[in-house]
């Protein structure tokens, strides 16, 4: 232990800030780019204080130009820097879609490893904070459909810090989704200094016997609440936080589903062509004959994420998860 002075628990936003700080300190190739991240410290204050600590050459306010600065970051990454780019909200990443899909994720395969793009894109995502329209998308499956990209989505401060450090050290491009609903919803003790959480590994948040609930991002805490209330109904839930959406931790899914025989997948994205469908496919491939009931999905709906006046109807709630679990148990 480094010091006996008690550290304040960190929020998810604070943990990411600390991870960025650790890596800026350790590796001079690391630099941050994005809109309002320097002087203003980011609209969610995730980069607060970093410009003062590391200078405006390392923490760079860019023009309003998602395709431009993601494209420039690809050139930087191919030329030896390690850019960490903030997209202010995931709903604003679409101008950069082309740069990601046609360049960032395939420069390695186009050149058989001669040029590579060790780039991190950070994006707050998801609904539930009464944000304006387009600020609430959870279109993670657009990005899990990009071969060559890794997609990471922490739900806790500890994981956020460890995964961010792992993402910056990763030799390939990583999209780092930050559930904005969790930015300051809770705080926990997070180790000082550098540590990593392995990309591609999920985590069992709660062990149980009857049903496996698989979730990520803000849906982890929704699922945990559901699991708590189900305990009172004598239904024992195992809750898995996938933490990485590409590559998915197939072994963790299979081992849990083979144990419980029942699955509910909880996501806030639109159900069609979603990550939940990939989880279903993994269950089909690995654990079909272990199942005691068809696996269920609890999702948003196949509509654009609504204005916040309607978002409570759109977002999965603990009640909807409880309902799905009971349906699966009573199948």
């Amino acid at each position: 232990m480094k010091s006996s002075v008690e550290r304040k628990p960190l929020t998810l936003a604070g943990a990411i800030n600390e991870a960025l700080s650790v890596m800026l300190e350790e590796d001079e190739r690391v630099l941050l780019l994005g809109e309002d991240i320097g002087q203003n410290g980011g609209v969610f204050r995730v980069t607060e204080g970093l410009k003062d600590a590391f200078g405006e050459d390392r923490v760079i306010d860019t023009p309003l130009s998602e395709a431009g600065f993601v494209g420039a970051a690809i050139g930087m990454a191919a030329n030896g820097l390690k850019p960490v780019v903030e997209i202010q909200f995931l709903g604003f990443i679409y101008p950069a879609y082309e740069q990601l899909m046609t360049h960032a994720v395939r420069l390695r395969s186009r050149t058989m490893g001669h040029f590579t793009v060790p780039l991190v894109i950070r994006a707050p995502y998801g609904a539930g904070v009464r944000a304006p329209e387009i600020h609430c998308d959870s279109t993670e499956s657009i990005f899990t459909h990009m071969p060559g990209l890794k997609v990471v989505c922490p739900s806790s401060p500890y994981d956020a810090k460890g995964l961010m450090i792992a993402a910056i050290e990763d030799p390939d491009p990583v999209l780092f989704l930050e559930p904005m609903r969790q930015y300051r919803s809770s705080a926990e003790e997070v180790p000082e200094g550098k540590y990593t959480v392995e990309i591609g590994k999920g985590k069992t948040m709660l062990e149980g016997e009857d049903v496996t609930i698989i979730a990520w991002g803000a849906m982890v805490s929704v699922s945990m609440k559901a699991a708590e209330s189900l305990l009172q109904e004598n239904v024992s839930c195992e809750v898995i936080d996938l933490r990485t959406l590409s590559p998915i931790d197939e072994d963790l899914i299979a081992s849990s589903v083979q144990k419980t025989g029942r699955t509910v997948i909880v996501q806030e994205s639109h159900p069609q062509s979603s990550v939940a469908n990939d989880v279903l496919s993994i269950i089909n491939d690995t654990s079909f004959l272990y199942q005691k009931a068809p696996a269920a999905k609890v999702s948003g709906f196949d509509m654009p994420v609504p204005y916040f006046g309607y978002e409570d109807f759109y977002l999965p709630t603990p009640e909807r998860v409880v309902q799905a679990v009971m349906d699966v148990v009573n199948f």
Partner: protein, 367 residues
């Protein structure tokens, strides 16, 4: 009624950005001030390099017709722009070509075999030799422009004197990435040359339908980037003005936009027929009057540097070099499907490990 000024201003931009020329279409030197640039050695080097890439271009079209490579994008007519710009670069500079700029890439030092491999569907062809920093050709339009701005930004941060050059056509200047890339480079004063070859057609769409402006150079005004228009068929003008822009960049004075006005004689690619969208008489006329190689040949003659034997040797050498490259391309090892899976990520992910073993099993392989 309020009159909004500017209606006429746009049209006068052709005068604001006159086309710079050092060697006129008759091969005569036009600038007293820059006369020392004109040397026998340099003229012969330009000639040799232009003949070399034109020979390659024609051979590649013929290989495509014979089914020995895939669809091919020819550049004949644009040799002065490509050779002049590539010869200014130093070993450690970055080049961001498009699919029509392999003439520049080969002049900079790309391997002819690899360029042919690229056109024959092999990504091995994207690996530049000798540590040269040549990006694989940009296929979507204009997306390489921000890459060049970023790579140049990184050079500046590392404290080097290296620069980057981005190639793109006239159509690319309608894309957002052109504007975002120029703006980014201007804000951060990145050492990058935005080298536009205005060949006046984007596949079938002529310049007049691509933009209202008469010049591309003027688009740099919006980003406070210095710019100029040059005769893209005058290899000396290209060489001189790109060299100047590189010097500015290396001295820390930021980006430059250069519009090289030129013409492609042939099709966009071997998959289209240009007579469908333009009068090919115009191409023939331009070939007769403004061809970049003819111009340098005239220059050699005017200055008494032309030797029939030497030009024949140059042409023969080009043919031999290219025949050799074709042979190497055709002798290149057959594609190994296993490598497809090995270069998606540095460290293989579980799904790809399974997919690889599935495909290799199907093929009866042992890897």
């Amino acid at each position: 009624m309020t009159v909004i000024p500017g209606k006429e201003r746009g049209r006068t931009m052709e005068k604001t950005y006159p086309i710079q020329q050092l060697l006129d279409p008759d091969g005569k030197w036009t600038s007293e001030e820059l006369r020392s640039l004109l040397t026998e050695e340099r003229t012969k080097s330009f000639y040799m390099n232009m003949v070399r890439i034109r020979t390659f271009d024609r051979k590649a079209i013929s290989l495509q017709r014979q089914g020995r490579i895939g669809t091919y994008a020819p550049f004949e007519g644009q040799e002065a722009s490509q050779v002049g710009s590539a010869l200014c670069l130093l070993q450690d500079d970055w080049m961001f070509p498009t699919y029509r700029d392999h003439g520049a890439a080969m002049t900079f030092g790309h391997s002819l075999r690899n360029v042919l491999l690229f056109w024959n569907g092999r990504n091995e062809g994207n690996i530049p030799p000798n540590g040269l920093k040549i990006f694989p050709p940009g296929i979507p339009i204009a997306t390489q422009i921000p890459h060049a701005a970023g790579a140049a930004f990184a050079e500046k941060r590392k404290g080097t004197k290296n620069a980057a050059i981005a190639f793109f056509g006239d159509g690319a200047t309608s894309e957002g990435d052109f504007h975002e890339g120029l703006n980014f480079a201007a804000v951060f004063q990145s050492p990058v040359i935005f080298f536009n070859q205005n060949n006046q057609y984007a596949i079938s769409v002529p310049l007049s339908k691509q933009m209202k402006t008469k010049t591309i150079a003027q688009k740099a005004l919006a980003y406070d980037i210095p710019s100029l228009r040059i005769d893209g068929n005058d290899v000396y003008a290209v060489y001189h003005y790109v060299t100047q822009a590189l010097e500015r960049a290396r001295a820390g004075n930021g980006p430059t936009l250069i519009e090289a006005v030129t013409w492609r004689y042939g099709a966009h690619t071997t998959a289209d027929d240009p007579s469908k969208y333009r009068d090919q008489q115009e191409s023939n006329l331009r070939r007769e009057q403004f061809d970049p190689i003819l111009r340098i040949e005239k220059c050699l003659k005017i200055n008494g540097w032309y030797e029939e034997g030497w030009t024949q040797d140059i042409k023969q050498q080009a043919v031999e070099e290219i025949e050799q490259a074709v042979m190497e391309m055709e002798d290149f090892p057959a594609p190994d499907p296993a490598v497809l899976f090995d270069h998606v990520y540095k460290n293989p992910v579980p799904s790809l490990v399974k997919q690889k073993s599935y495909l290799m099993g199907l093929l009866g392989g042992n890897s």
